[in-house]
Amino acid sequence: MQFSRDRGLALVALVLGLAVALVWVPLDSASGILEQSRRRVSVGDAAAPTLAALFIIIGALLLWIERVSDEVSALTWRNAVYLLWLTGVLGLALALMWGLGPLAARLWGAGEYRLLRDTAPWSQIGFLCGGTAMVAGLVGLVDGRLSGRGLALGLVSTMVLIALYDLPFDDILLPPNGDY
């Protein structure tokens, strides 16, 4: 019997399910499966996640014995390389989005960013740059190089989003302004 890719997945799921049921849930919830609190017996917080783990474990066991179609899709190292690139591009874009606004406010001495978080242009600097970087970066990832086309598209789409959300609605905040 050959060790198919689905069986690999089954093994991963089995380990995950057991880890959830035996380690994560018991250590990370405040009550057990049934709980005697004061005078009542009630269902505790660990019950539902244990059921979830049970679904995963049963699924893993079934997947092990199941014979499914031949068209097995599987992960390869190329997927991992892609995910790394993707993480890099998105991480950079989100870092710009998060940090540029407060940085600009500090450099220009405009005051505490928290109080400026719905005041243009401070509130839009981070989103404009981060959003542009995200679009341009992903277009560049597909094209194999950064291009003016991607940058222009990023700039236009972030500006459209600002016009869509920030200008008409007072109580709506663009990322990252709700966190300040």
Partner: protein
């Protein structure tokens, strides 16, 4: 541009309204984050959002509402605790959050870690069943329970579950207490027949008016406005009550001037006839109920003490 329009609107509002004069001595240094401890779209959430809208229209302040739900308001309390206390972060909870819920959670915080700003409205908390059950007051329920019928009692907080337990114990019987997330769930449960009766905090008003539901008892320290003849829980040997209010809070250490300005501003809109929030509160919660300052602090201290006593009583 928005800010300019708002400033102009605020200027006009200031000349026109009397509330403006009271709150003039303080203006928020930036937008105010309004945390809401209730699910979007419900009565409590709508109330908070309408108060914010009214304040924006009258004073030109800018509110940014945000849902921080769960754990009977404690999620909000824990989130607001470490925010700046300059009046730019406030939250709406129920008084029970700083009372019983906080006491029983043993979360390492007390009401001292917060600034209670003002209450806005009270609950008309009753014990309610469907009319077709044939019960007219809570004594009928007790009779049925003693007759051997298994009675399901719907509640929506730990405190109410304790009260339901005491109501049974003091009368020599026991209920199957079914605790759910909120008042709407109790109403749905009672309507679907999943529960026989339950605590409802005002959501029963329309049903009682139409005769589908019956207020079997008042869970307050006072009679219910809609059915003043319904007995009190004290008639059944339970000397605790479920008096409760919607309440704005902030982090501890809020300057007195800020606290007073916020409280007055909120009081101004919820008590003014014709404001959106006043209309909503009158319709859904029987009118505004405002406690502030020392009165509010005193109420909360009494609630904290009552929580301790109730918990000890219910643990026996």
């Amino acid at each position: 541009m928005n800010n300019f329009v708002k400033a102009a609107a605020a200027a006009m509002a200031l000349t026109a309204s009397t509330i403006g004069a009271a709150a003039q001595d303080w203006t928020p240094p930036g937008p105010i984050k309004l945390m809401i401890a209730f699910a979007a779209g419900g009565g409590a959430d709508t109330q908070a959002r309408l108060i914010a809208e009214d304040l924006e229209a009258e004073l030109g302040w800018n509110f940014i509402p945000e849902q921080v739900t769960g754990k009977g308001g404690l999620n909000l309390a824990m989130a607001i605790k470490d925010e700046p206390a300059d009046g730019t972060v406030i939250g709406m909870v129920v008084a029970e959050t700083l009372g019983y819920n906080m006491y029983v959670a043993e979360a390492g915080v007390t009401p001292e870690d917060f600034t209670a700003i003002t209450t806005t409205a009270g609950f008309q908390m009753g014990i309610v069943a469907r009319a077709e059950k044939g019960w007219t007051d809570f004594a009928d329920v007790l009779a049925a329970a003693k007759g051997g019928e298994a009675i399901r009692f719907g509640t929506m907080s730990d405190k109410l579950s304790d009260l339901a337990y005491l109501l049974g114990r003091e009368n020599g019987t026991e209920f199957n207490i079914v605790q759910v997330r909120g008042g709407r769930d109790v109403l749905n449960g009672v309507n679907a027949g999943d529960m026989d009766l339950g605590f409802m905090a005002g959501i029963q008003t329309a049903g009682v008016a139409s005769g589908e539901l019956v207020n079997l008892a008042s869970a307050l320290s006072t009679p219910l406005e809609q059915t003043p003849d319904a007995p009190m829980m004290s008639a059944f040997g339970v000397d605790y009550n479920a008096d409760g209010y919607f309440m704005f809070i902030g982090p501890a250490g809020m300057p007195d001037a800020v606290r007073a300005a916020l409280a007055r501003a909120i009081e101004g809109v919820v008590t003014r006839d014709g404001s959106k929030s006043n209309g909503m509160i009158t319709k859904a919660f029987g009118g505004p109920a405002v406690l502030q300052g020392e009165v509010l602090d005193g109420f909360l201290a009494a609630e904290w003490a009552a929580a301790e006593a109730l918990l000890a009583e219910a643990s026996q």
